[in-house]
């Protein structure tokens, strides 16, 4: 949320409840993050208006549009937008990400999501979202197709012979000619190959299907992990799956979410956390929980625990890993629904940590050096103040400890910042010709 990741942040005196449509607010955030030499900015998204506008700020600028504005307002920071494979077509989305990569000089990233829930489905002519496994099957084919589109121009198509009137070399254009289960896409992209070749490919679902998808395609993974032990186990599991999928485990960066509540003393930080919790609208939290856990509203009593006998996550056609995390958290800490809502208010399942800048840096170091994280998705509870204090107070500590960069490499792409190679369109195109030959179509 634009006023911060704590759902009640908009109610603080310092917050602007209309920040979501104020591009100056986002420009200032992006510049602060760039001052802190962050890798990238990340915008979540779903093509739907959630819930009741009474209960929290609603309505946003569409993420690729907003990141295009921020590309012009910044120089170095990566720009990662969420977009759904269930409610887009590959040709349109490949164009848009390639275009963002062009206008940002190689700073674009795509957070690939499948979009759970019936509300979004009903905005696109469906009664409900396709089943979980089917959404991921479509996501895999979608990703294959957009990669073919991004590879449909070699780097050196341009010839530019004005005298002879030859602009480009058609032999270096490789139409996908894709015929699949979900998509048929014949022609080459109408955008030349972008600075990064592909945007950085990001994934954020931690279900079984999600982890398998990440192992095959993702170069960065956002994940919600509540404890160091769980985060280590997720980290090891995903790296192993990546290796099993035939990829270098170093090629996927694992980035747990962290909601840092920062105070000059630990007591001050805890007080700040408690003050935010007091501002939570529990009726809103109950409704959100009812949707996430697919439990009827009347079975969620604020002062009781969650109902017994909840179905296993694999029977949930929604956000399976978030469901599992929330149910486990409630059971482990024996929380009432009210307490659970309080815990989730900070980061909707992401870990909240309240402490001094030194303590926050310690936690980050512990997870980073302890096999639990390659980096973090920092989700300040209140914006812009929570980002400013992180950049001014925590980042310098991390830098002093040699854990974080002190400056950007000028002109570096997002992909290079993550230590990833630039995809080779030539190799991909020749590989594709082989496949086409085997299936009998001409290439």
């Amino acid at each position: 949320m634009s006023t911060g990741h704590h759902e009640a942040s908009w109610r603080l005196p310092e917050s602007d409840p209309l920040a979501a449509t104020d591009i100056e607010h986002f420009k200032a955030l992006a510049r602060t993050a760039e001052r802190g030499t962050f890798d990238s900015l990340f915008l979540a998204d779903g093509p739907v208006l959630w819930g009741d506008v009474a209960q929290r700020p609603a309505g946003v600028i569409e993420p690729l549009t907003l990141l295009t504005v921020l590309a012009a307002a910044t120089e170095h920071i990566g720009l990662i937008a969420t977009a759904s494979t269930t409610y887009n077509s590959p040709y349109n989305l490949a164009r848009r990400f390639s275009s963002l990569d062009h206008v940002s000089a190689g700073r674009a990233g795509w957070n690939i999501v499948t979009t759970a829930g019936p509300a979004a489905a009903r905005n696109f002519g469906l009664d409900d979202a396709p089943a979980h496994a089917q959404r991921y099957e479509r996501a895999a084919e979608f990703t294959e197709v957009v990669k073919k589109l991004w590879d449909s121009w070699e780097d050196d198509v341009y010839v530019g012979d004005k005298k002879l009137g030859v602009w480009g070399d058609q032999r270096k254009i490789h139409p996908p000619r894709h015929q699949g289960t979900y998509f048929s896409v014949e022609g080459a992209l109408n955008v030349p190959r972008s600075p990064q070749g592909y945007p950085l490919l990001v994934q954020a679902g931690s279900s079984e299907d999600g982890k398998d998808f990440a192992a095959r395609y993702a170069e960065a993974v956002f994940t919600a992990q509540q404890t160091l032990a769980e985060a280590r186990s997720f980290y090891a599991d995903l790296k192993a799956r990546t290796l099993a999928a035939g990829r270098d485990p170093e090629g996927v960066k694992i980035l747990p979410g962290l909601v840092p509540v920062i105070g000059s003393t630990e007591a001050e930080a805890r007080l700040r956390d408690a003050q935010l919790e007091e501002l939570i609208t529990y009726e809103h939290g109950r409704r959100t929980l009812s949707e996430l856990l697919q439990i009827p509203l009347d079975q969620l009593d604020l002062d009781s625990r969650l109902p017994e006998n909840l179905p296993p996550p694999e029977l949930i056609n929604g956000a399976q890993s978030r469901y599992e995390l929330v149910v486990e958290l409630a059971r482990r800490d024996k929380l009432t629904v009210r307490e659970l809502i309080g815990r989730l208010g900070g980061g909707r399942g992401h870990r909240t940590f309240a402490g001094t800048p030194e303590q926050v840096a310690d936690e980050i170091e512990l997870w980073f050096t302890g096999g639990a994280a390659d980096g973090f998705n920092i989700m300040p509870p209140v914006l812009p103040s929570g980002l400013e204090v992180f950049v001014d107070e925590v980042v310098p500590i991390l830098r002093r400890r040699g854990l974080f960069r002190t400056a950007y490499v000028p002109g570096e792409t997002l992909r290079a910042r993550y230590g990833l190679p630039r995809p080779d369109a030539t190799r991909s195109a020749s590989k594709r010709t082989d496949i086409d030959t085997r299936t009998g179509s001409k290439s």
Copy 2:
């Protein structure tokens, strides 16, 4: 095309053949147009890579992305992007145009097109484009749905009571609950109502279906007209159809294309035109003509006239009005295929006029005061030089004659600049409630 509307413009020594992906090039164009107090910038589009990249510059930045960049680089000028109703979904497109309207403070326009031809269709899982009439039927429903989405937020949803924790008023949110032939769209947009309410609605097809569509929905119409008589007749026809559709004819502005080839003497302008014509690659022109007229390549001999017995336009499942214009031009002026390609090279069917700044201003005045145009779509043959000379030499003459503004009204929206009212979401929502009641669905 980014180097100019003449197809051979990229071959001039002054042109940058890579201008299409150079955002600085477009920023400079936008600023020049703003210096000339133009109404707006307009970007054409089709989701397809046309033809052979050997024969002319290919590959562009996706228009809404580029206009978002230009929104940040300019202050006043309108930003009109073409987008297809055949290859988009209403929810996604409504979001994107609403977002552009937000980030440009009310300067967005949508050129509504249906996208002819099989090449684009094959990028979206179809073998060929839907039939002409069906495309327009879908376009009409598409437009109705996006208008409902733009009206799904009243202007004053925001309440902002931090104390009580009430952000907005859900009663002022009106989900479309649209169930139609082509689309089902249930929920409200997730973007608050934008500065203009709707972007300016533009249309550019001049077929029978196109004119009927324009009469119902368009607020500005781009059209290709070769002679004053034809332009007058088109103008009168479209204004009459608009009246017949129950709208104020003043509510649709008719803007013929004009390719001004400007010289300090008439002879110099004609020489410049001839020099550009010499640079045309006739094989490319022949292929383009074959596609447009749907005549096999081997029946187009460069030194003969067009074949006899061409089908009537209503049997063409493509750009019907452009087909009709080109065939009429060839017949009227008894042109060989080579001569026809030369004539079309300047503006692909739009009128080319070569002369001094005074003569160009005279032509504009003649059409403007003679019932043929409410304004013009100026398509310089070479960019940026052709725009610069128009702004520096022609605009001052038009201003002196009292035909054109000398400055922008600060903060004016594009819609206001066209003398159009801001749509009223409240009225539209109550109208929709009536319809919903009659059809028995709840609202």
